[in-house]
């Protein structure tokens, strides 16, 4: 393994930079998507409700179909082929199309920033990703939305709940990043 992490990262950085658009332009594009979503479908952009409805399938082997059907949460948000679920599928397909067109597909298990801090072991990174996924979705359900439903769609409507979500999430993320990626070269 090369000792200089920057040397290791250069081809990766070039691949990641390929096909990138101006972030302000991308943000404006997402804003325009919101106009269409509100005016034409009467549905704000959102992701996490569809994921948690889909999760009812994963609970089937454990709870059985009766257990899922009588669950108080899934009774409110049952799995169905609705607007949110199709939007979620579209998000994956759109990203895939962009990846294929820009020829940037690359299998990645341990990303550069993680590797610089925690090393190259895939098990540790995958365990953190799984745990992070559990926590993020529990939090999203507790808060009633994620970075899409609250962070973008809610904030743009000037919803109090969404701005509280946005600011709290950012503060919690800053603290977590400071702890997780603290500089080991400075004292203990």
């Amino acid at each position: 393994m090369p000792s200089d992490p920057n040397l290791l990262c250069r081809p990766e950085a070039e691949r990641e930079a390929r096909g990138r658009w101006n972030p302000y332009l991308v943000g404006a594009g997402i804003g325009v998507l919101s106009w269409i979503a509100f005016a034409v479908a009467n549905q704000p952009l959102g992701i996490s409700t569809a994921i948690s409805s889909a999760a009812s399938v994963c609970a089937l082997p454990v709870l059985g179909s009766d257990g899922v059907a009588t669950n108080a949460y899934w009774a409110k948000f049952p799995l169905k082929w609705d607007y949110g679920m199709v939007f979620l599928l579209g998000t994956f397909l759109g990203s895939l199309a962009s990846v294929l067109v820009s020829r940037t597909f690359q299998v990645e298990t341990v990303p550069a920033t993680w590797r610089e801090r925690f090393g190259n072991a895939p098990g540790r990174r995958l365990a953190a990703a799984f745990l992070g996924g559990v926590i993020i979705m529990y939090g999203a359900r507790l808060a009633g939305g994620c970075t899409s439903g609250h962070g973008i769609s809610g904030s743009l409507q000037l919803a109090v709940s969404s701005w509280v979500f946005f600011l709290t999430l950012f503060a919690a993320g800053l603290v977590t990043a400071a702890v997780l990626f603290r500089d080991r070269s400075r004292g203990h």
């Binding site: 096909g19 479908a41 759109g94 962009s98 926590i135 808060a143 809610g154 919803a159």
Partner: protein
């Protein structure tokens, strides 16, 4: 054509809008673990640029649409305990995972195996929430539940005033980012 669309037409629109959203997330660079994590380390400001621009551009347009009767607001209730506790967990999870739910799903398409594992974790998290919902709903979601509040109602500052304030903040923040920090790509590496 009668709006809003319903039935199959709405589902086709959802597919097109979802695909455009996924395309933009990838082109914006936010399907990249390093870009998201380094936002929280102040080494890459892509996430802030994308989100803040989306909020202002989206918000001004949606406001105009609602004021002319072409759209309705969909405000999530301000259940303050659930929102703050949930958002705090979300922030911890987002840095640990390195994606949020939408960018995580989109990142699977880039070849990110850890994004895929995190989506499996998200499904598990949703199952945990559904199992705990019978307790969580009365004990957390109904606490400090203030209803579907909007900032203009709470503050007395009108909608347009809020967007003027947000645009001014964005102007200053974006100017600082563009003049005082290194370019996004380089910053994301270090």
């Amino acid at each position: 054509m009668k709006l809003p669309l319903s039935g199959d037409a709405a589902l086709w629109l959802a597919l097109v809008l979802g695909a455009a959203f996924g395309w933009l997330l990838h082109r914006g660079g936010v399907t990249n673990y390093n870009v998201i994590v380094n936002q929280f380390r102040f080494r890459d400001f892509t996430v802030l640029k994308v989100m803040f621009t989306a909020i202002i551009v989206g918000g001004v347009g949606v406001l105009a649409l609602t004021q002319t009767g072409h759209a309705q607001f969909h405000i999530k209730p301000a259940n303050m305990l659930g929102v703050t506790f949930g958002a705090a967990l979300f922030g911890v999870g987002m840095v640990l995972y390195g994606y949020c739910p939408g960018t995580g799903v989109a990142a699977i398409a880039t070849g990110s195996l850890h994004a895929l594992v995190g989506v499996i974790g998200m499904l598990a998290g949703a199952v945990l929430y559904a199992l705990s919902f019978a307790w969580v709903e009365p004990h957390i979601q109904k606490m400090a539940a203030l209803g579907k509040l909007r900032l203009p109602e709470v503050t007395g500052i009108p909608d347009w005033g809020w967007f003027a304030i947000l645009a001014a903040i964005a102007g200053v923040v974006f100017w600082l980012i563009e003049t005082k920090t290194r370019p996004t790509g380089a910053a994301s590496r270090q």
